[in-house]
């Protein structure tokens, strides 16, 4: 994907609000030990938008994602789909919700059940789509199409177990799963942090392609602010469970208002400025800073 492509994508009209979070909080524990993992967060995700949630480890990104996905309960606040509070009571309502909101997780190696064959993952998706009773030949057709979307050959995958695949292949198969389900919102929780650089670019391209073809909202959770700038329309910066800054990617990256964002940006290594290993005092300073608390 070239720079002009990205700009073209960014110019799309983004008006239709799909998902809106109002004063959402997640509190673990009670009383004095209460830990507010996510603290009073507001957000708006629009159709066809790529949103990045950036923050360091433990800032509450994944907890927020799980709340949106319905994997953990929301302690306070509410989540609205198309302006209506989400229906998430009965099993049927949950299944309907999960048809529209799906996720890709960080570690491809733990995303698969090592005891079942991998075509089972795709077959389960077809079942969720309500096509359980489809003849097997048609199911194979659907799966083959999905696999070719992610540059995999379905014939090579049948009767294989997850450990026979590479990390990149596993993650691409997860995207094939998303392709079959075609949800309206995809939460990608650091989908590229555990795969090699080469697979990383392919996976990002596939996600962007999904957005373009299916008008899918993608919530991209990452700690890599450079990557977030590369892919997203909107960026939320998260720290200790709160959004410290939000706005379009250009606003946030080029004109950061919060000190935390500035610090994050200053930590991004630049390819054009290699570390100066010859000057000793810089290294010594860093060591002193790192070990200062101990001595």
């Amino acid at each position: 994907m070239t720079e002009t492509d990205r700009v073209k994508v960014k110019r799309r009209e983004l008006t239709d609000t799909f998902l809106e979070g109002k004063n959402m909080s997640k509190v673990y524990g009670m009383g004095r030990k209460a830990n507010r993992a996510v603290d009073n967060v507001n957000f708006k995700f629009r159709r066809g938008e790529i949103v990045s949630i950036v923050g360091e480890s433990g800032s509450g990104k994944t907890t927020l994602a799980k709340m949106i996905l319905g994997l953990t309960s929301i302690t306070e606040g509410q989540l609205e789909v198309h302006g209506q509070p989400r229906a998430f009571g009965t099993t049927a309502e949950k299944r309907e919700y999960w048809k529209n909101i799906q996720a890709i997780f960080q570690d491809p190696f733990s995303t698969y059940n090592v005891f079942s064959k991998i075509d089972k993952v795709l077959l389960n998706c077809i079942e969720l789509r309500g096509q359980k009773n489809l003849p097997y030949a048609q199911k194979v057709e659907i799966m083959t199409e999905a696999c070719s979307f992610v540059n995999l050959r379905f014939a090579e995958l049948t009767n294989k177990y997850p450990f026979e695949l590479s990390g990149g292949q596993m993650q691409r198969l997860m995207i094939a799963r998303i392709y079959i389900l075609k949800p309206k919102l995809l939460i990608a929780d650091e989908p590229t942090s555990m795969v090699d650089a080469c697979s990383r670019a392919t996976i990002l391209d596939m996600l962007l392609k999904l957005r373009d073809e299916e008008d899918m909202t993608i919530v991209f959770i990452t700690h890599d602010i450079g990557l977030a700038y590369y892919v997203s329309d909107t960026i939320y910066i998260m720290k200790s469970g709160q959004f410290v800054e939000q706005g379009t990617s250009d606003e946030v990256i080029l004109n950061p208002k919060s000190d935390y964002t500035k610090r994050l940006l200053s930590d991004v290594p630049s390819i054009y400025e290699p570390w100066d290993l010859s000057s000793d005092d810089v290294e010594e300073d860093e060591f002193a800073a790192a070990s200062g608390g101990d001595s």
Partner: protein
């Protein structure tokens, strides 16, 4: 899976334990084929030493040899009191027969006195004195003669065709004896007989089988309950978890052996069969399995593959069965093996307290120990009645623990 099985059977510990168990199992299945009758048939007499044994019927049917030494009078002499000997000497004196009786001592030489008396006594010699006094000598003679004729055995078998209902087979005189080597019904008891004259080896083989059955039933029940409670409370969470953890903790805190004793005691002894005892053991042994399965489920619950299954709209039961159970199964198999071995031990403990299965038709290892203790085998030095039993229990537990260690090494390679 195939690979796992292969590495399991390449593990030395597992292989040794498994072989011991298979040998014991083969013994319980194969040995009864070569033995007749029920394992608890009384075939011998009290505590026969291990090795050859001649049963009583065999002695009767064997060719008899009359003893050449005259021992009757000696034996009769032993049955005669000092007063009676003195009475005999008195008869010799009064009868005025030509008998050398003066050097005989009524306190010592019973045999000679009796011999002389039997040879010389004559009812027709009329002694002076009252008739009661004379009849005393007649009674003495009859008594000594009866003693002689009552000796030996008459063997009869039931026969409906004869008038008395019995038919005399043979007579065994007291002077007959048998050469053991000629007896056809000589039996070889590898481990001798116990207090009821039962073949200890035959009993032991069937007891190992029954004890393994107790272990298998109790272990299956305990593992199933523990697995169900652990998986449910770990995965479902919330108040269900609180309730089930509360129950589990309660069972853990109260020593399970106490519950076991109370439960067995409350069941009447008539209905306390082997299966019932196995059930009772199984019902008290589950808490540790439940606890560890719960903790494993808690860590598995937050794995991404479970999240993906939840996002695919699967129900709780389906997720537990397909996404959690296979992951805890290796642990559960190990726990199952340990449950079996501890259930066998628990049965032995219960039986020692007299709360084990109350049966006279089936032996278990615990019952054999209990019997040998009740009927004084250790005091009578009958080591064969309990040492082999103790060794079998130790061997079973040892093999199970060895298998467990082997499985642990295969499924938790970091321990190696």
């Amino acid at each position: 899976m195939k690979h796992r099985l292969r590495t399991t059977f390449q593990n030395t510990n597992f292989l040794v334990g498994f072989s011991i168990l298979i040998i014991l199992l083969l013994l319980t299945f194969v040995a009864p084929l070569f033995m007749q009758g029920s394992p608890l048939d009384m075939v011998g007499t009290l505590f026969n030493k291990p090795g050859n044994y001649v049963n009583r019927m065999g002695v009767i049917d064997a060719p008899k040899y009359p003893m050449s030494i005259e021992v009757d009078s000696i034996r009769l002499g032993a049955a005669v009191s000092n007063e009676e000997a003195a009475q005999m000497l008195e008869w010799f004196e009064k009868s005025e027969l030509d008998i050398e009786w003066k050097m005989l001592n009524p306190a010592k030489d019973h045999a000679e006195i009796v011999e002389l008396f039997l040879a010389n006594y004559d009812d027709s010699i009329r002694l002076p004195g009252t008739s009661a006094y004379r009849k005393g000598f007649t009674r003495l003679y009859l008594k000594v003669q009866n003693l002689l004729s009552a000796d030996g055995y008459v063997v009869q078998v039931e026969d409906s065709s004869s008038d008395s209902g019995y038919r005399e087979v043979t007579k065994i005189q007291s002077r007959d004896f048998t050469n053991v080597k000629d007896v056809p019904a000589r039996r070889f008891f590898l481990l001798g007989t116990d207090n009821f004259g039962r073949d200890v080896f035959h009993e032991l083989v069937s007891a190992i089988g029954n004890s393994l059955m107790v272990g298998l039933i109790a272990g299956s029940i305990a593992t199933t309950i523990g697995l169900l409670i652990g998986l449910t409370s770990g995965y479902v969470g919330g108040w269900v978890d609180n309730l089930l953890t509360f129950v589990t903790n309660m069972f853990t805190v109260i020593p399970s052996f106490v519950i076991l004793i109370l439960l067995s005691y409350s069941i009447s002894s008539s209905s306390r069969s082997i299966v019932v005892v196995a059930f009772v053991i199984g019902l008290t042994a589950w808490p540790w399995t439940a606890r560890s399965v719960r903790s494993q489920t808690l860590t598995l619950k937050n794995r991404d593959h479970v999240n993906i299954s939840r996002l695919s709209g699967f129900g709780t039961v389906r997720i537990i069965v397909t996404d959690i159970l296979p992951y805890v199964l290796s642990y559960v198999v190990m726990a199952y093996i340990l449950q079996i071995s501890s259930a066998i031990l628990a049965e032995a403990q219960l039986s020692m307290l007299g709360l084990g299965p109350s049966t006279t038709t089936h032996a278990t290892l615990g019952l054999m120990l209990s019997w040998s203790m009740q009927f004084q085998a250790p005091l009578s030095g009958a080591w064969w009645a309990f040492i082999p039993v103790v060794l079998s229990i130790a061997l079973i537990s040892f093999s199970m623990n060895l298998m467990n260690t082997g499985l642990d090494q295969v499924f938790n390679p970091t321990l190696r």
